[in-house]
């Protein structure tokens, strides 16, 4: 009963916070980030408290140093906790967990039932899924980096990032900068962006995951019209929106992601391209931030890495979110005509 009352007051508290009609008008981007982070932490706490009576599950661990059975807490313990029972090396180097040999699971997502558990790092024999998670996480951290890098006078509205395509050579984040209509970053500014990114990765922040309801997600992204217009279509499948948090930055993604940012090693933010939307779309232009990164511990010759950087400077051919047709098609039609 006591618990229920507390929950009730808490929801009341942040609903009151949220439903204030003027909140949109007064939020600077920094305040919006703080608020979103606050809501994320409240919701996370609420979900953990909701578990109530703690039940135990058996997790069969497979891999080095030896197979063993761990007894963990249902809906509380994560694969990361299991890894910490093994060794520091397991906790630091594992990027993804594999449950029952098939399900790829975030390192920071609570386990729900009895299962077998394996850890995957970047040097396993078949690293496709780990690579994809890495590329996706790089995009996520790029979003965090871009919001942190600009001055308060420049509002930054993140739009989205496409699914990971490693062969394209660069990870992407499409960002709306409404006050900068024609911005061409100087090399110095690109260096600063890269430096911001490196600062984020060196902190070794865990990438936390949370499934929230559509309503709460809409409340969290009330200041960002792009995200709030995307949320209904995302939530259509099962009414839940998956959020990820790095530092204080909260973003929407399908996941899975890697364990923490210190697993991102050598990197460079290479270029910013302007994408112009079709005239009938409501977003006129976006900036596509591109970068390339390697996992920690990968040793790559600086010359080889410079080739990767040069390639990542070209505009990534991933579909632009604001023009439904790729740019090539009209051109080819024009050429044929």
């Amino acid at each position: 009963m006591k618990m229920n009352m507390r929950c009730f007051f808490k929801t009341l508290l942040y609903n009151k916070n949220v439903q204030c009609p003027d909140s949109r008008r007064f939020l600077s981007s920094k305040e919006a980030i703080e608020r979103r982070h606050h809501l994320f932490m409240l919701e996370k706490k609420r979900q953990i408290e909701k578990v109530g009576r703690i039940e135990k599950i058996e997790v069969n661990y497979k891999g080095t140093p030896k197979e063993c059975t761990l007894v963990m807490n249902k809906n509380i313990s994560t694969p990361y906790d299991c890894a910490r029972h093994m060794s520091e090396w397991h906790a630091d180097n594992s990027a993804l967990a594999v449950l029952d040999g098939t399900v790829y699971w975030d390192m920071h997502k609570p386990l729900t039932e009895n299962c077998t558990l394996e850890f995957q790092n970047f040097t396993v024999a078949e690293p496709q899924q780990v690579n994809k998670a890495f590329w996706r996480s790089c995009s996520l951290v790029l979003g965090a980096c871009v919001t942190a890098a600009f001055k308060d006078s420049v509002p930054v509205k993140l739009h989205s990032f496409p699914g990971p395509d490693i062969r394209s050579g660069s990870f992407i984040y499409d960002v709306d900068l409404p006050t900068l209509s024609d911005w061409k970053p100087t090399p110095q500014e690109m260096h600063t962006l890269s430096a911001e990114y490196v600062i984020l990765t060196r902190k070794g922040l865990p990438i936390e995951r949370l499934d929230v309801s559509e309503q709460l997600a809409l409340e969290m992204f009330i200041d960002n019209e792009h995200k709030s217009s995307q949320i209904p279509s995302i939530a259509r499948a099962n009414g839940k929106v998956t959020l990820y948090k790095v530092d204080k930055h909260v973003d929407i993604s399908k996941g899975p992601m890697i364990s923490h940012t210190a697993q991102i090693g050598k990197l460079a933010i290479t270029s910013v391209h302007k994408l112009s939307g079709s005239p009938d779309s409501d977003v006129k232009q976006l900036y596509r931030f591109q970068g390339v990164a390697l996992p920690t511990g990968v040793i790559l010759n600086h010359f080889a890495f410079s080739i990767l950087i040069e390639r990542a400077k070209k505009l990534n051919s991933a579909r632009s979110p604001i023009s439904p047709f790729t740019d090539r098609e009209p051109q080819s039609i024009a050429a044929n005509a």
Binding site: F122, A125, P127, N131, V292, L294, P295, L308, R311
Partner: protein
């Protein structure tokens, strides 16, 4: 013609042997050194993988290689070989292991019988290099992570894609040049005619 082939008298080791042996400083002199190495050789045959100080491990490795090579060449009915095995292996059941397990394992191998890897130095230790000495074909998980050629690693995927892009650009360039070279000579010839 009747001269013995020298290379068959002494088994040739498949590892690099330094010109001089290490002294491995010891209070009992050379005998103490040999006793130390006997312990290491026994241990490597027994456990198949051991961590040792670098110098001692490197020295013991050469004796181990020689011992296994002799055992393969002469078999267990050769008296000097048996004496040698008896001397180097302090635990006598290991003599059986040498002839019945290790000889069949290494009979047809083309590489050295042992592997010698540098190991990390323990923190706050004396300045002593560590190494791992192991017999090839041991049952333990591999110490080396030789996956640089795995095409699926992230860096290899990126480099492959970059290579593919570069080739495509080159082919496009070549295709353009072919068109030009066909048209250019005509222009040149037409230019040259008036000069002639």
């Amino acid at each position: 013609m009747n001269q013995a082939d020298v290379t068959k008298l002494v088994s040739k080791l498949r590892i690099k042997v330094p010109p001089k042996h290490r002294r491995l400083r010891n209070a009992e002199g050379p005998e103490g050194r040999i006793n130390k190495l006997r312990k290491t050789v026994t241990a490597i045959i027994k456990y198949e993988r051991i961590e040792v100080n670098y110098n001692r491990g490197d020295e013991a490795r050469q004796y181990t290689e020689r011992l296994i090579a002799e055992a393969i060449n002469h078999g267990d009915c050769h008296k000097p070989t048996m004496e040698m095995a008896n001397f180097w292996l302090l635990e006598k059941e290991l003599v059986h292991k040498l002839f019945k397990v290790l000889v069949p394992r290494f009979e047809n191998s083309n590489s050295a019988f042992t592997r010698f890897l540098k190991a990390p130095r323990p923190a706050h230790s004396r300045n002593m290099d560590k190494a791992v000495l192991e017999l090839r074909g041991n049952p333990f998980p591999s110490l080396q992570n030789r996956q640089a050629n795995n095409r699926l690693l992230l860096q290899n995927v990126l480099l492959d894609a970059a290579k593919y892009d570069y080739r495509q650009a080159k082919y496009a360039e070549m295709a353009e040049n072919i068109g030009k070279t066909e048209s250019e000579p005509k222009e040149k010839s037409s230019d040259q005619k008036p000069n002639l």
